[in-house]
């Protein structure tokens, strides 16, 4: 084992499903941080996680986790990681404690019951440990999955969309736990759709589009590098590509047009005037600081509006990934 290696390293990591390149030459280095992989649906997030957790074999390239190759030493990798997939998979007919003891036994922990109780306490589930999981809320079930994942004290935790489908309070609580795990020295690799959560919790984020990493840095650096001030305009009429100096069009969501400008204050009025002259009727106009959403939308090619949902391709991908 090479000691100066980062906890997770990938080099030219690629996964192809026939002619579909799901992950394309990914090179990453992640070490004792919360790393967020952000990307639209089908961009290769889950495929990346599955390769790093030894569930899928890469087509080419290499990845190491804790110094062990995911292809040459998969069982050593599995010894040091935990993986919580997107689907919430906990046994409803077992109690919370039974669910965690089951995992402790699978990991071969010497004192399964005591270790399970510690993990349940850590996840604030001790008071409900003897209740059937079917009575748990979504947030509690996700925390139970975290307790299962923590029972063997992994060095790396892979979380695929950990807060999907949870209410705001549940999401906040999950992130509090993830942050405290990172503060305890754990490396957390997380995929998410929620930019505000990634902005708040992740040390660094990678934005992935069509299998390629298109941006990789801290949320603050990405915001300052990729976006200046944002001018958001709502109005009627078709946007005809009007441009004014120092202003760049970065995207459209619904009836909102978004532009970035070095100074929103200086460029706002000329932009409004130009849009009016092009025939648009403006209803509202806001200048704000960029969010990770803006960075994401400026980097990701617009998909939903231009591409129809390819159900056959979607099913093929799911089948191959499962």
């Amino acid at each position: 084992m090479i000691t100066n290696m980062a906890i997770i390293e990938t080099s030219g990591l690629t996964k192809k499903f026939n002619d579909l390149v799901a992950v394309d030459e990914m090179t990453l280095s992640i070490d004792r941080e919360i790393f967020g992989l952000l990307g639209p649906n089908g961009s290769g997030k889950t495929t990346t996680v599955k390769m790093l957790t030894t569930l899928l074999t890469p087509t080419s390239g290499e990845a190491t986790v804790c110094g062990h190759s995911v292809t040459a030493q998969p069982s050593k990798v599995r010894d040091r990681i935990s993986y919580v997939p997107q689907d919430m998979a906990v046994d409803m007919k077992l109690t919370g404690r039974e669910n965690v003891i089951f995992f402790a036994n699978l990991y071969g922990i010497p004192r399964p019951r005591e270790t399970a109780d510690e993990a349940l306490t850590q996840m604030d589930l001790a008071s409900r440990a003897d209740d059937m999981v079917k009575t748990y809320s979504g947030g509690m079930r996700r925390r139970l999955e975290l307790a299962q994942a923590l029972v063997h004290d992994p060095e790396v935790l892979f979380l695929d969309e950990p807060t999907i489908g949870l209410d705001v309070a549940g999401r906040r609580k999950i992130w509090e736990h993830i942050i405290s795990l990172k503060n305890g020295g754990m490396t957390v690799f997380v995929t998410t759709h929620y930019m505000d959560e990634a902005d708040h919790a992740c040390g660094r984020v990678g934005i992935i589009d069509k299998g390629k990493i298109v941006a990789l840095d801290t949320p603050a650096a990405l915001k300052s590098l990729h976006c200046h001030e944002i001018i958001a305009i709502r109005g009627e009429g078709e946007y005809k590509g009007t441009v004014v100096p120092d202003v760049t069009f970065i995207g459209k969501t619904g009836d909102e047009l978004r532009f970035q400008a070095i100074s929103g204050e200086d460029s706002g009025i000329p932009l409004l005037r130009a849009l009016n002259e092009s025939g648009m009727k403006i209803h509202s106009f806001v200048i704000r600081q960029p969010t990770l959403d803006d960075v994401f939308l400026s980097l990701i090619e617009e998909q939903e509006e231009t591409m129809a949902f390819d159900h056959h391709r979607f099913r093929t991908m799911l089948r191959r990934r499962a």
């Binding site: 074999t57 995992f103 699978l106």
Partner: protein
Amino acid sequence: MKRTFTYMERDLRRWIRGRINVITSLVMPAAWLIFVGLALPIRFTDNYLDFITPGILVLTMLGASLQGGALLMFDKILGFLQKFLAMPAPRETILFGKILFITCRGLIQTTIILVIALILGAHLLNPVFLLQTYLILFIFGVLLSSIMTTVALSLEDHDSYAAFNSMIAMPLFFTSSALMPYDQMPGWLEVLARLNPVSYAIDAIRSMQEGIFPATTIVGLLIGAVVVLSACIITFRRATV
């Protein structure tokens, strides 16, 4: 091996807590035993209940195995399998745990059916006979649950599995030697019955009723179980990499 039992224990707890499933799976074989075993006017034997009981025991194991094949498929569909595969325990223990659970669940169900048969008046209380019967049912359970798990792993969804299941369940039973001896069958049925693996298990239990130890049949079933289990391991490895 310990992990195999851990996986089995999980399924056992879940099954026992789903009380309805425990009872419903016993209704069909119990109904056969009562309504056919006691009511059918049969001339080729004095005690039809004694004749049909081995068939019903094997039918119970058959039902348990057919029902159990989908368990691994559900673990896959519901996301459990991904978690298990990312754990350091040898991956094959997931499969062995499942097959062991399906077989043991079948043995529990056959025990209940056996008790009902005894209450109804069957003469099956010889301990050596019972031990050998369990041995045959265990090997048969491993054979059939391996077949059904392989089928489930090869099919894409539960609907296809359910369709396959209902397609083979009754034909397998009716073309076996469960309900009548070979010399009472029409010629075409006898050919099918002699090819049917369900008949092997039933015939082996009947031989033991007559005091003959069916070594050849048991070895045949054992070889079949090993071959199918090997095929199942290969299918499982292909489906999970």
